[in-house]
């Protein structure tokens, strides 16, 4: 978004990460505070050890100041990701992953690895899932034609990756497909 219009095509991963900051996560605060009114909303009251729900950006900031413990979302466990990986590798279509799983995972693994069970295993699993999905995306693009491309369960990072190529390619193919019959006629004429 910060780029000039002519080269702005898709959000960069850093931008996506920033946007993901809006997602609400649960934290266990380590400090006691009443309700606080910030520009984006009212958060709190913070009563340890009761969990509070705050946006990810706030959780990140508090964690960096060592004032909270982030509770990983339900899907962020070894069991769940193993099952998903199996689905990913067995099916042709993409499996259903949380829309912003890549960004959330990145933030959590960066900031709060100590709050996660088996962070290394999770890193490996995530990497495997991502590679499987990328392979599927590539094969998807091979089937590109001028009109539409049915696909489901694309996640935000993947969308932004293929968006640039995808939109341009689709436009060109569309033009080509339209021009083809005329050319044929032209060729057949002459």
């Amino acid at each position: 978004m910060a780029l000039p219009t002519h080269i702005r095509q898709a959000p960069t991963p850093q931008e996506l990460e920033y946007i993901t900051g809006e997602i609400i996560v649960a934290i266990e605060p380590l400090f006691r505070m009443e309700k606080v009114r910030l520009v984006s909303g009212v958060y709190g009251p913070f009563r340890p050890p009761i969990k509070t729900r705050v946006p990810l950006w706030l959780a990140q900031s508090l964690k960096l100041k060592r004032k909270c413990r982030i509770v990983p979302p339900d899907w962020f466990t070894v069991d769940f990701l193993t099952i998903r990986l199996q689905q990913e590798t067995s099916q042709v279509e993409l499996s259903k992953m949380p829309f912003r799983y890549a960004e959330i995972s990145k933030v959590l693994l960066d900031v709060a690895p100590d709050d996660i069970m088996d962070p290394d295993k999770i890193r490996i699993l995530l990497k495997d899932i991502r590679e499987a999905r990328q392979a599927k995306c590539r094969s998807l693009l091979l089937g590109l034609d001028g009109s539409y491309l049915p696909t489901t369960n694309l996640c935000s990072m993947e969308i932004s990756e293929i968006r640039l190529f995808f939109s341009r390619a689709m436009g060109i193919i569309e033009k080509l497909t339209l021009e083809a019959p005329q050319e044929d006629e032209a060729m057949s004429d002459s």
Partner: protein
């Protein structure tokens, strides 16, 4: 029929019985013969007795925590206590089990008595364990042979400083209180039992203290309590001044004593509890003690009782039985954030004590049955309690069959409370009913804790919320044409304005009968509800126990024969005043002896209706430190022997107003009074309400400047003393003496109380007319 024996005799068989131990049949006949038939049942059939040798062997268990398995088929829970007193004992239902299988046993084993435990503690595993875990923090201990490392971490790092220390004393009990942490250990071989208390506050130099118990007395359980802090212990420059001291420490010892210490180590009380104390937990206002008075019972009952003892005056706030189901043990006790005691049993049910602020009204209510949780379906989970707030149950979720949390520390989870109601076809209606009950209970706690306040905005908003839910239920009931149900719901509404909404709703649906009912109910409520009255009622609970005043002879004896020494209002039986009022034509001696009693009875009878309960006597006697001036200023009125009767009835009403100003609200919660209304409720009313000083009143004998000018009387009889005292100093006794001389109302110096009390005059007139 498998075997047969012919009895060929003329006699008839009277009684026939199988032997419990062998294959033997015995009978007796009318002739007095006893026959034994050995092996009546052929070996092809099962024998009629139970072979003792078929009893399954008890599983051998190694004393390491990791190998605990549960015996699925039977209801036996065997826990081994591993080198740590803090482990909870299990109940072996040997009695009932044996009874089923082998009725050969004569001695039936009683259910194993649960041993004492600290709530929130675990046995040591891999040299690590938890000593205490509650909503404030965690105490972890690591065993390093020669010493232990105790690590204390708080959930709220901004208020309390976490710390750790090396512990050579090997404490194995700890309790995290609001003001400090108490540690204890029992005696071991040569080392006596010891208690250590580390308060959080660090002002006033070194504040931790330690105490050793004598040989033969061991600490069994320990609890640290105190008022929650408002300021941060970390932030030294905090503005708020926190004057509540360092809390209270309570220990239960093997000699069945409950010893109380202040936060600085002063021994302040010893209570011989008797029986076995099972566990203790302390909160802001009281300590919750669970004990067993006798033994356990034959049918698996642990026979536990509980007591709620206030920390400032050591009064029994509540007392009763702990409703543990049979064959179940107590796993955890705690005090919720609002001060409500709660307990968790081995069945997975959480109970909370409802109406704990009302004297004699406390009862246990189940508020969560973890077996019916939706998240539990299909999984093997157990819940390890940490704490309870009004809305959530804080616990650790333990996967599988693990019984105790291990390291690293799992996160505290919250479970929503849900009272186990019966399920009907309409689960959403049941769910709203459940929500209503729970909310009602919580609201009643908040309302009880209002104390001297009449209302609170928070309470009002919550009641309004509840009313909104009720209106929704009402709508559902009306749609279903369940009008009786609708009527019931209307009666549950809290605010009178909601009744208007209900009436409108009924009108909209053209339910005239219902609308009429609502309107009449509304009128009744408007007339009969009185928040002032409720506040009065609350105030009666907060009065402490009224000490029984001694008899007159005792008073004189205690006061050392002086008429006006010390604090007369404490010891002087208030009954002296009613005597004046009921003076009639009764001979002096008889009057003095009997009048008091009859006075009391009339006073009781009279006050049975009014709600004034335990009297303001205690106010007077206790107010001497709070408001000595008040008491003093009311003294002159004694001589205004004016119209005691005039005062009495009026004062019941007046008293409310007077005491509203006199009574100083106590810090902390109101203290319920568990005794019956005391004697002489009328008394101090008179004292307080008589404001006017008649012009010819005698000088105040209780004023400090007045030197007691009495003579020491050696006679024994009370009345001689009275006479002598009266001769010496005109005082209260003067009034009494006047009684003995049979002065009547009219004989008394004419008094016209200042006309603040116009009513008083009316009363005088009334009495004049009556007498």
């Amino acid at each position: 029929m498998t075997s047969r024996h012919q009895i060929d005799s003329q006699s008839h068989v009277n009684q026939l019985i199988f032997s419990p131990t062998q294959n033997l049949l015995v009978w007796g006949d009318t002739e007095g013969n006893l026959y034994r038939w050995i092996d009546p049942i052929p070996p092809t059939q099962p024998p009629p007795h139970v072979d003792k040798s078929t009893k399954s062997a008890r599983r051998e268990k190694t004393p390491v925590m990791g190998d605990m398995e549960e015996d699925l088929g039977e209801d036996v829970d065997e826990d081994w206590i591993i080198d740590d007193m803090a482990g909870a004992g299990g109940v072996t239902i040997e009695g009932s089990k044996e009874k089923e299988r082998s009725y050969a046993r004569e001695i039936v084993a009683v259910a194993k008595a649960q041993s004492a435990f600290q709530p929130g503690s675990t046995p040591m595993k891999d040299r690590k364990g938890y000593l205490a875990y509650n909503r404030l923090g965690v105490v972890e201990v690591t065993d390093q042979d020669s010493h232990q490392i105790i690590n204390v971490e708080f959930h709220d790092r901004s208020t309390y400083p976490s710390y750790h220390f090396t512990d050579y004393n090997r404490f194995n009990m700890a309790s995290i209180g609001d003001r400090g942490i108490a540690y204890a250990r029992p005696s071991e071989k040569s080392e006596p039992s010891q208690v250590l208390y580390k308060p959080y506050a660090t002002w006033g130099s070194s504040t931790e203290w330690s105490i050793t118990l004598p040989a033969g007395e061991d600490v069994i359980a320990i609890a640290a309590g105190g008022v929650t802090t408002r300021r941060s212990y970390k932030n030294r420059s905090s503005e708020e001044i926190d004057s509540d001291g360092a809390g209270t420490v309570v220990i239960a010892t093997s000699t069945s004593y409950l010893r109380f210490f202040t936060g600085s180590g002063i021994q302040i009380y010893v209570w011989a509890m008797g029986g076995d104390i099972v566990s203790l937990v302390a909160g802001n206002e009281w300590v919750f003690v669970v004990y067993r008075e006798g033994g356990t019972s034959l049918d698996g009952c642990q026979n536990l009782r509980y007591s709620l003892i206030s920390l400032d005056r050591f009064e029994v706030v509540q007392d009763g039985q702990l409703p543990l189901p049979k064959n179940k043990t107590l796993k955890w006790i705690g005090i919720s954030e609002e001060g409500a005691p709660s307990m968790y049993d081995s069945n997975g049910v959480l109970f909370v004590l409802d109406r704990f602020r009302r004297p004699k009204q406390a009862r246990w209510v189940p508020i969560l049955d973890t077996n019916t949780l939706s998240r539990r379906a299909g999984k093997d989970e157990s819940y390890w309690p940490i704490g309870l707030s009004g809305k959530m149950f804080m616990c650790l979720i333990l996967k599988g069959r693990t019984e105790h949390p291990s390291f690293p520390r799992p996160l505290v989870q919250e479970l929503e409370l849900r009272i186990p109601l019966l399920q009907t076809e309409q689960p959403q209606i049941v769910a709203s009913e459940e929500k209503l009950i729970r909310e009602k209970i919580l609201l009643s706690w908040t309302r009880d804790a209002l104390g001297p306040l009449l209302e609170s905005s928070e309470l009002a908003t919550r009641e309004l919320e509840m009313d909104k839910d009720l209106i929704k239920l009402l709508q559902a009931a009306i749609k279903d044409r369940q009008l009786q149900r609708a009527n019931d719901i209307v009666r549950l509404l809290n605010h009178i304005n909601s009744l208007d909404t209900a009436a409108k709703l009924a009108e909209y649906y053209h339910l005239v009968a219902l609308q009429d009912k609502i309107n009449s109910w509304k009128k009744w409520r408007e007339e009969n509800e009185d928040p002032l009255e409720e506040m009065e009622e609350r105030r009666t609970w907060s009065r402490g126990v009224l000490p029984i005043p001694p008899s007159d002879e005792m008073v004189a004896h205690l006061l050392g024969n002086t008429a006006s020494s010390g604090r007369p209002q404490e010891f002087k039986p208030a009954s002296m005043f009613p005597k004046r009022s009921l003076v009639g034509a009764i001979p002096s001696y008889a009057q003095n002896v009997f009048a008091r009693k009859s006075d009391q009875s009339t006073l009781f009878g009279k006050h049975a209706d009014t709600n004034d309960g335990p009297s303001l006597d205690i106010d007077a006697s206790q107010n001497y430190d709070e408001g000595y001036a008040n008491a003093e200023s009311s003294m002159p009125e004694y001589d205004a022997a004016s119209s005691p009767p005039e005062g009495k009835r009026k004062r019941d009403a007046e008293d409310d107003n007077n005491n509203a100003s006199y009574k100083k609200p106590r810090t902390g919660a109101p203290r319920p009074d568990s005794t019956v209304p005391s004697s002489n409720p009328g008394m101090p009313q008179q004292r307080k309400a008589m404001v006017a000083v008649p012009s010819n009143a005698k000088p105040n004998p209780f004023a400090r400047t007045l030197a007691p000018n009495h003579s020491i009387v050696k006679s024994n009889t009370f009345f001689e003393k009275v006479d002598a005292a009266e001769a010496a100093a005109p005082s209260k006794r003067g009034a009494e003496k006047r009684q003995t001389k049979q002065t009547t109302l009219f004989g008394l110096p004419g008094i016209a109380p200042a006309d603040k009390k116009a009513k008083a005059i009316k009363r005088i007139n009334a009495l004049v007319i009556l007498s």
